[in-house]
């Protein structure tokens, strides 16, 4: 049986800064995972990647990453530890990465259980 499709976002690294970025609904790049465009079907995921591929000089290595949406329409959450760490910063250095600017609960931005 085919695996059920998991919602996806496109992530990459910004060419100039190397920062982790996500493709948003306007087809531009944001540093906020919760503002990323979410593809709910394989076709929509392909379309998102195609949009990313038109901007090869802004980002490096765009790829599809799984996300979870606890409720329909709610902001996407990373499902894998790797994506959580990319989103927030090194788990050993809360003073570095995007997490340094976030006031919210460290557990609240993750839908996986690997941490």
């Amino acid at each position: 049986m085919a695996k059920p499709f998991r919602p996806k976002i496109v992530s990459a690294n910004d060419l100039l800064s190397g920062d982790v970025v996500y493709l948003d609904r306007a087809g531009t790049w944001t540093r906020r995972l919760d503002a990323a465009a979410v593809a709910e079907t394989p076709g929509a995921a392909e379309d998102l990647l195609a949009v990313a591929a038109t901007q090869p000089d802004q980002v490096v290595g765009p790829y599809l990453a799984d996300v979870a949406r606890p409720h329909a329409g709610s902001p996407p959450l990373p499902t894998h530890l790797r994506e959580r760490i990319r989103d927030r910063g090194p788990s050993t250095r809360p003073d570095l990465g995007r997490q340094a600017d976030l006031a919210d609960d460290p557990g609240s931005l993750f839908a996986g259980d690997g941490i």
Partner: protein, 562 residues
């Protein structure tokens, strides 16, 4: 230490200028990422999880104070205030931006440093015994050889596109601190029966997904024959090494598949061909050049001192913290009245190998004031002051304490090698640093750590084994099991001249089960050992792995689903 001549300096500046133009063209869109990636890798620029990473070569782990200060400046000005010393004796910066990297490379060139050949399928930074030129067990100083190899291998046109990366390590001591048997080529400086200096040449060692112990391809190679012989090995590898499968492309696989005898015959044939050339082999350096290089490594102007110093002894007697540090972090120097001091970059709870800019400056100051301006980076991710007068040790220790650098744990259970793992590395399958931190915290009692004695724990965040877990007494490999971190434990590895690959103990452990697992192993060892003189590794060799496996998995305390 070696100082660049005009040729070296021009070469490095030229490479920086070229890379600056390549970066400009990438930013303007004139170069695609596919075109740019090999160029950035040739200059040590990786893209990791959060940012670019710049790997700076520290040739054979040797730095002076000016270089260390420049690294501190770079960390502060263009990074986030720290750097990470690696098992390749290099330093990595985790957060540079692409447009700043040419400026960083220029700043490195100002102090005779660069990032060339720290990546890609080429001959990488030559590594060496971090106690070179200081150790009392040394037969010969390996650094002139390492420098000769550095010059030979830098931009070597024939070996710029090897089947895979190629690592050479060298030791001048019978006690191998350079892990020579786990390198593509390992060199051990030896003397023959006539007392002439030469090398035992080891080939085909390596860690990674297929760990292998290197094999002796030549018992004794006269010193002057080194470059033609190494060139012959590289040539045979370049020709026959597999390019069809990245995972089978290292020379260890070639030696394994073709057999040592076959490879030896081909290497010797190429070597003989070179030796027979009119005027001798092209790559053999002339005596003047060898002497010129060796001249940079003459010992510093050591004082004539008695072996013991009254002030040092008094400080030891008066201050138990200082005494503990000297007991653990010092090694015997070849010169009376001197010691080799290892500065642990493993403060309890810190990321192994990380140093802040401020700490780098303290190390630089200490090297300049008390250490003949010499600093070494060890593959164990510590920093070494190789020549310190014993009478200066109390002052050195005081300053280290103020800087949070006086942890007395070298060689003990909390002196853990850990690769960056999933907190930084794009290839990782699990995190390494938090596991190291948890173990160090758990065994933070210095008396208990000393009771346990010599213990090498090494952690890798993926099968690539940058954390040398295969050659650890207790090795830990982080894997991803259905999106969850899982840690495999190996037992009985050894990174020394008796190099051994650890044996996988059994099913892996969840992250929060690693510390209890290590504790059970330690408890078993303490219960089973013959006495304090019998180290963990000795006990494991005497008893075999079985009783330790029983302890590890007693009560089914592992993740059964593994």
């Amino acid at each position: 230490m070696y100082r660049y001549d005009e040729f070296d300096a021009d070469f490095v500046r030229d490479r920086v200028a070229r890379f600056r133009s390549q970066v400009d063209r990438r930013i303007s869109g004139a170069l695609t990422e596919d075109e740019f990636k090999p160029l950035r890798l040739q200059n040590g620029v990786y893209l990791q999880l959060h940012a670019y990473m710049l790997r700076v070569a520290v040739p054979y782990g040797t730095l002076n104070s000016a270089q260390m200060r420049q690294l501190a400046m770079i960390a502060e000005r263009w990074d986030k205030g720290y750097g990470h010393f690696t098992t390749r004796q290099n330093i990595q910066f985790n957060w540079p931006t692409l447009k700043d990297i040419p400026d960083i490379l220029d700043a490195l060139a100002d102090v005779g440093m660069h990032c060339i050949q720290t990546s890609g399928n080429c001959i990488r930074n030559i590594t060496a015994d971090h106690f070179a030129g200081a150790a009392d067990d040394e037969i010969d100083d390996p650094r002139p050889t390492a420098e000769l190899l550095r010059q030979w291998s830098t931009d070597h046109p024939e070996f710029a596109y090897l089947p895979r990366k190629f690592k050479i390590a060298i030791t001048g001591s019978p006690n191998d601190r350079a892990v020579t048997k786990a390198h593509d080529i390992g060199l051990r400086m030896v003397r023959n029966d006539a007392g002439e200096p030469g090398y035992e040449v080891i080939v085909g060692g390596g860690l990674g997904r297929t760990p292998m112990v290197g094999k002796v391809i030549r018992d004794f190679l006269p010193k002057g024959h080194l470059l033609p012989y190494v060139e012959a090995i590289l040539r045979v590898y370049n020709l026959l090494g597999r390019r069809d499968n990245k995972y089978k492309a290292r020379i260890k696989i070639l030696v394994h598949e073709a057999g040592l005898e076959d490879i030896r015959a081909q290497v010797e044939a190429d070597f003989a061909h070179q030796m027979a050339a009119e005027g001798g082999p092209m790559v053999a350096p002339d005596a003047d050049e060898v002497a010129r290089i060796a001249g940079y490594f003459t010992p510093p102007a050591w004082d004539d001192l008695p072996e013991e110093d009254a002030g040092y002894m008094a400080a030891r007697a008066a201050d138990p913290v200082f005494r503990a540090w000297t007991d653990v972090n010092l090694a015997a120097h070849r010169r009376p009245g001197y010691a080799i001091a290892t500065i642990s970059l493993k403060p309890i709870g810190a990321a192994p190998g990380d140093a802040s800019a401020e700490q780098m400056r303290v190390i630089a100051d200490l090297a300049e004031t008390y250490g003949h301006d010499e600093i070494r980076v060890s593959h164990e991710q510590n920093v070494v002051l190789p020549h310190v007068r014993k009478r200066d040790l109390p002052a050195v220790h005081r300053r280290l304490r103020e800087a949070g650098l006086a942890t007395a744990n070298v060689g003990l259970i909390s002196d853990i090698i850990a690769c960056p793992g999933m907190d930084y590395c794009a290839l990782a399958t699990a995190r390494s640093i938090p596991i190291a931190q948890d173990i160090a915290q758990h065994f933070s009692d210095p008396d208990y750590a000393r009771t346990i004695g010599e213990m090498k724990i090494k952690i890798s965040g993926c099968i690539n084994a940058c954390g040398h877990h295969h050659v650890a007494h207790i090795g830990i490999l982080g894997l991803d099991r259905a999106g969850r971190e899982n840690y495999q434990i190996t037992l009985g590895g050894d990174h020394t001249e008796t190099l051994a690959i650890g044996e996988r103990a059994g099913p892996g452990f969840d992250a929060d089960q690693v510390v209890p697992a290590i504790e059970r192993l330690v408890d078993a060892y303490l219960a089973l050992r013959d006495g304090p003189e019998e180290t963990f590794l000795m006990a494991l060799r005497r008893l075999g792995i079985a009783p330790f496996k029983v302890a590890l998995y007693k009560d089914g305390e592992h993740d059964r689903a593994a």
